[in-house]
């Protein structure tokens, strides 16, 4: 099979994975090295597909042969999709070639499970090893790890990769048991715990190294401990393949963030796949629901919201017509309007339309003068959204303004699902 055909099949197989980030690793560049590549903190989206998703990494599977039979997965053993398998060198060359064209920030490699978890993991690690050691590649590498792979292989993976991930796949244990009976949730959690401990240990060690002066007068240098996944670990769960509601999904995420210090939980709206298993809902993916989950996740990570307080509706679902912060504000009308000149930071962060940066600026401005309503315009925040919820000099919202803040005509749920 020629490489074009393999690439087509193995990119097809990878397109359901939502993660794309290439940020947050250790800064490095290729000056003085033998190869190419750099990471400078923020990742770069080099292109966008018509599905609105960023293309930042070459995202492929090493092979889409798989011995497992997870119903939600296009690569499951019983599926009839065409199969292909890259040689290690082929993935290495593709990565370098796309990188030289400036099409990508690096590689995100995943794989179907062939022969055994260790056998598969070994191949995945070998791609990363060749890139790093043989080609001195200094771009970003994200490896999907196999939960049951041996400790030694995981340790090697973390040495070459910037980020490691293990997908929890389903938001609940029951969901996983129903759709992926061969996967074991507690094995997945144990692997995440393993990764977290190694990441923690490496950071701790790096903090502890004492710089040593080798020669009198020379600047002290410290032998850095070998890195382990400096950009941390992430995971993905599929939304909409089973009946789990948003409340439970967010609770799962909060548990994962708390227990394993994940950098990100990705939500991937289940979408129709070729040759789908009969047990699954074959409908267009709930993209708006996925979007709201990302917004809610953001509230937990940056705005001080606890997972229990985000979903108010008795059906356990996030509202589709307004964003979760707005929904929270509408459900807690008694806490508004918030006085921009006096409210504490935590409360300013809960005003719909005010982002973290805008809040910092308001706090800064407040120290030297009073805040007026027209200051909001200069802050570039959506005034129409913010004004009904705040009091400032020269502004007090009219009665009923909050309710009116909800945009009127919104696509209905039926149209979106």
């Amino acid at each position: 099979m020629d490489i074009q055909r393999k690439l087509a099949i193995l990119a097809d197989a990878a397109k359901y994975d939502a993660s794309c980030a290439s940020s947050g690793s250790q800064p490095r560049d290729s000056l003085g090295g033998r190869g190419i590549g750099s990471t400078e903190g923020a990742g770069i989206c080099h292109s966008y597909a018509p599905d609105g998703r960023c293309i930042s990494l070459l995202k492929v599977l090493l092979t889409n042969h798989c011995q497992y039979d997870c119903l939600y997965c296009v690569n499951r053993a019983s599926s009839n999709v065409p199969r292909a398998r890259f040689r290690v060198e082929e993935v290495v060359q593709l990565t370098l070639d796309f990188y030289r064209r400036n099409c990508i920030e690096g590689l995100f490699l995943s794989s179907g499970i062939i022969k055994s978890p260790d056998h598969t993991m070994e191949q995945v690690v070998e791609v990363a090893r060749q890139l790093r050691e043989d080609h001195d590649f200094r771009g970003y590498i994200h490896l999907k790890t196999i939960p049951d792979a041996s400790d030694e292989l995981i340790a090697r993976a973390g040495r070459y990769a910037d980020r490691l991930s293990i997908n929890v796949e389903m938001p609940t244990t029951e969901g996983l048991q129903a759709l992926a009976p061969e996967k074991d949730e507690s094995a997945i959690r144990r692997s995440m715990a393993r990764l977290r401990l190694r990441i923690d240990d490496t950071r701790e060690e790096a903090r502890r190294v004492v710089p040593i002066r080798a020669l009198p007068g020379a600047a002290p240098t410290a032998a850095k401990p070998p890195p382990f996944a400096p950009a941390g670990q992430s995971t993905q769960m599929i939304v909409g393949a089973d009946a789990t509601d948003d409340r439970h999904i967010l609770a799962s995420s909060a548990t994962l963030y708390g227990a394993y210090k994940l950098k990100r939980v990705y939500y991937s709206a289940f979408s129709p796949i070729p040759d789908a298993a009969r047990a699954l809902p074959l409908v267009a993916p709930p993209l708006m629901r996925e979007h709201r989950l990302y917004q809610a996740d953001w509230l937990m990570r940056f705005y001080g919201f606890e997972h229990q307080e985000i979903v108010a509706a008795p059906d356990g679902l996030l509202r589709l017509d307004v964003d979760p912060k707005m929904a929270w504000a509408l459900a807690h009308a008694e806490r508004f309007p918030v006085d921009l000149n006096h409210a504490p930071r935590e409360m300013l962060l809960r005003v719909p339309g005010l982002g973290v940066k805008a809040v910092e600026r308001l706090l800064q401005a407040r120290r030297v003068r009073r805040v007026r309503a027209d200051d909001l315009r200069r802050l570039h925040v959506p005034a129409r959204k913010v004004l009904p919820f705040v009091v400032a000099d020269g502004h007090r919202p009219a009665a009923g303004a909050m309710a009116a803040a909800v945009p009127a005509a919104q696509p209905t749920q039926a149209a979106l699902f």
Binding site: D29, R53, D275, A284, G304, R378
Partner: protein, 480 residues
């Protein structure tokens, strides 16, 4: 007054002029700045010899302002010099300005800087190199790009850092930059016709773009927001956008409509994770551990990482039983590795009691906690949870066969003795009440010592050490 800058992005020249104007007390309204470079022709146009500048006294401004000027000057807006001078003037005359993050001029300057950053970022994203083999047989990577602002010089070092071992050039209508592997060289703008034709390898990239797109998730507006149309004509993959978009709906509908096919191959599920049958006593510690991992007899199990069973030698003199795993134990899967475990280690070391001579276990097998933000706060198991868990400890005891049991704390004591135990009253002695005949020694849990105030800890620790010493020395006698 009219000021003419030779180079539209020469920050030093701007600073010299501005400093001089400020020193001369020239208000912003009286200065007309003209610094726009007309592509390529600028240098000849400036034939008048430059007037020698009197160095103005440098004025103290916030460091962030100099950085801001460095960004703003790269913007194409001809008004940018006037804006920056006005800001400088106002910084010198209005002391309150530096503390006002909402000032209109300041925000305008930040807006320009932001547009420049965005342009820099988009150039990093959307430059596409094409492989070109020169007459000398050397390989180069060449790109054609059209930035919005004067960013080529500022952005070139990024590409040098990234593509250090590659010879490359970026051509733009205003400035071109070339890297030979060692230094950056700049020259005037190039003509669009110098854009290199696609090379043979480009098709792979197009194949990738076509197949990483999921037709069931069409979101063209989102794509356009991040990758505006004006960049498309220089992005090879953009030619695919229209055909992919047009075909998307039919493709996803056909996936939905397709009749299910017979499974490619049928096989029995793979059993990598064997779960022991319920109700059957585990035959060894491995089975015990696997069964406990899967236990959901109480709500704790569903939230923890794993069941933490004990560790140590079989048939030891002592089995020490604690309360419940904590955060570290939950992550590592080993008992007594957190702060309380470290205190126990210290105590045992002081007594010359080897940790690996005892079997260490917990009464409750899973970690119970409450989430506060991103932290897990330990919570003590409720009685019914401890009761639901008791049989695991019993199985563990009968598999390990210790001579005596040391209960650390009330939860362990209750689990071992089957009745509520007042630890302070019953500590320090061997009790002979277990049905299996093994004696139980009761003392404090090390975490109780950690919770004490500093003043009380030393004495309590000494007494706890006494207890442990007694337990250690007399088990053989006590168990007979």
């Amino acid at each position: 007054m009219h000021v003419r800058l030779d180079d539209p992005i020469d920050l030093d020249a701007f600073r010299r002029h501005a400093r001089q104007l400020l020193a001369g007390g020239v208000p912003p309204a009286q200065v007309e700045w003209n610094g726009e470079r007309v592509a390529g022709r600028f240098d000849e146009a400036n034939d008048a010899p430059p007037t020698p500048l009197v160095a103005g006294t440098p004025h103290a401004v916030p460091a962030s302002f100099v950085a801001l000027c460095g960004d703003v000057i790269l913007h194409r807006d001809p008004q940018r010099f006037a804006l920056m001078y006005r800001l400088l003037w106002r910084l010198a005359h209005e002391p309150s300005l530096r503390h006002d993050p909402l000032d209109a001029d300041m925000l305008q300057a930040q807006l320009l800087a932001k547009a420049v950053h965005r342009d820099i970022h988009k150039m990093r994203a959307f430059v596409r190199f094409t492989r070109v083999v020169g007459d000398d047989g050397l390989e180069r990577h060449v790109a054609w790009f059209e930035p919005d602002h004067h960013i080529v010089e500022a952005n070139a070092p990024f590409f040098a850092r990234r593509f250090a071992q590659m010879r490359w050039a970026i051509l733009t209508p205003e400035r071109c930059v070339e890297w030979n592997g060692e230094t950056l060289a700049f020259r005037d703008g190039a003509d669009r016709r110098e854009k290199p034709p696609p090379d043979a390898g480009e098709q792979l990239w197009l194949t990738y773009y076509e197949h990483i797109f999921n037709p069931a998730r069409l979101k063209v507006a989102m794509m356009r927001r991040e990758m505006p149309r004006r960049y498309w004509h220089n992005l090879p993959e953009a030619a695919l956008i229209q055909p992919l978009t047009d075909a998307a709906e039919a493709r996803s509908q056909s996936m939905i409509d397709a009749p299910p096919t017979a499974a490619r191959r049928i096989r029995a599920p793979i059993a990598l994770h064997v779960r022991p049958a319920e109700g059957v006593a585990p035959a060894d510690l491995g089975e015990l551990r696997a069964a406990a991992h899967a236990c959901r007899a109480c709500p704790i199990g569903a939230l923890a990482t794993q069941a933490v069973c004990g560790e140590g030698p079989l048939a030891p003199q002592h089995m020490l039983v604690g309360e419940q795993p904590g955060d570290q134990e939950d992550l590592t899967g080993r008992p007594f590795v957190g702060p309380a475990g470290q205190l126990l280690d210290r105590a045992m070391a002081q007594l010359g009691w080897a940790r690996d001579s005892v079997y260490l276990a917990n009464a409750v097998k899973h970690f119970k906690y409450e989430l506060r933000g991103k932290r897990r706060i330990h919570k003590t198991a409720a009685q019914r949870e401890a009761d639901a868990c008791a049989h695991w400890l019993d199985s563990e005891i009968s598999l390990v066969r210790p001579e005596g049991l040391v209960a650390l704390g009330a939860t362990a004591a209750r689990a071992l003795l089957g009745r509520p135990v007042a630890v302070q009253a019953e500590r320090g002695a061997w009790l002979h009440e277990r049905r299996d005949g093994r004696p139980v020694f009761v003392t404090l849990h090390p975490s109780a010592l950690l919770r004490l105030a500093d003043g009380e800890r030393a004495e309590a620790y000494a007494r706890w050490l006494d207890d442990l010493e007694r337990a250690r020395g007399t088990v053989a006698a006590a168990s007979r």
